[in-house]
Symmetry: C2
Amino acid sequence: MKHGSTRDRLLATGLRVMHAQGFNATGVQDITQAAGVPKGSFYNHFDSKEGFGAEVLGRFWEDRTARALNVLSDESLTPLARLKAYFAAKARAEPTKTFDRGCMIGNFSAEMAGQSRLVRDRLGAVYAAWTRLLAACIAEAQAAGEIRNPGDPETLAAFLIDAFEGAVLRTKVDQDGRALARFEQLIFDSILS
Amino acid sequence: MKHGSTRDRLLATGLRVMHAQGFNATGVQDITQAAGVPKGSFYNHFDSKEGFGAEVLGRFWEDRTARALNVLSDESLTPLARLKAYFAAKARAEPTKTFDRGCMIGNFSAEMAGQSRLVRDRLGAVYAAWTRLLAACIAEAQAAGEIRNPGDPETLAAFLIDAFEGAVLRTKVDQDGRALARFEQLIFDSILS
């Protein structure tokens, strides 16, 4: 097995396991076992579980960014329609069908922001990038007259992200999609109208 | 030391430690050590760490309910002013000055809803009770003409709670109160206007 492939397999497995169980409930052995590699090999590739967690979060975000860009840069849609399509796609895709995983960004914010400076800094970068993506589309929709709310696009985008993460958090408790439906309805009927 | 006092001390200590560190990062020994009681005594009072966590969450909610009722039943204020005072007080009080703890309800939703049926059911009851408290005040404000949004009070209340929890989550990453200021501004300027 090549060096690269073990490392990749550990990251892909870690993403799956840490998304489902959270950071603290996942041991290094859970990851190596699920990846089918010897426990000792983990530390050939990563300095610590903390550093591994930060990389896993980076992977999660890369995957989400690629999907977001697909929707948010779809020029066949108006800017507001892109925002609606983006959140509708997230509402369908983000939680698993059982609604028990939530979003890794929110999960790590709850669990790790107070414990790890490294993960907190990575989360800060993720939120900033996410805010920029949405703010650009909100600004376009304002310029096109589709959103009459004249608020600062970055502030609106940051609020959307926080409210969305809160809704995803709630789906884990309710084990259904009602919180996401509420979010879409109220955001597009009031804040982004 | 009386039976009751050890149990109470464990719960009070557990609330403080689990609020700061989360459930999975807190061992039974962390709690007994911080409470100054022998490790073995934990299991004289609680069947499991899971059951203990559910009780700790119940205590957190009782404390928060008492504070909420103080504000939400303050007849010297109009219903809308009560809602504003409630969230302003939460924005000042909920996160510690360092903004690193967040809200135990959100933290447990992220970390435990997928892991423990017991904690998830307790969280469901907490969200339902919290929703009823806010919905009653929203309905009063609608009846008084202070809130023109004719939406279902329970739906509006549930949205507020989710968005608030998302904002609190964000304060843990930013380590400041901007997300709460955004929440208050946008909620009272759009959704509850």
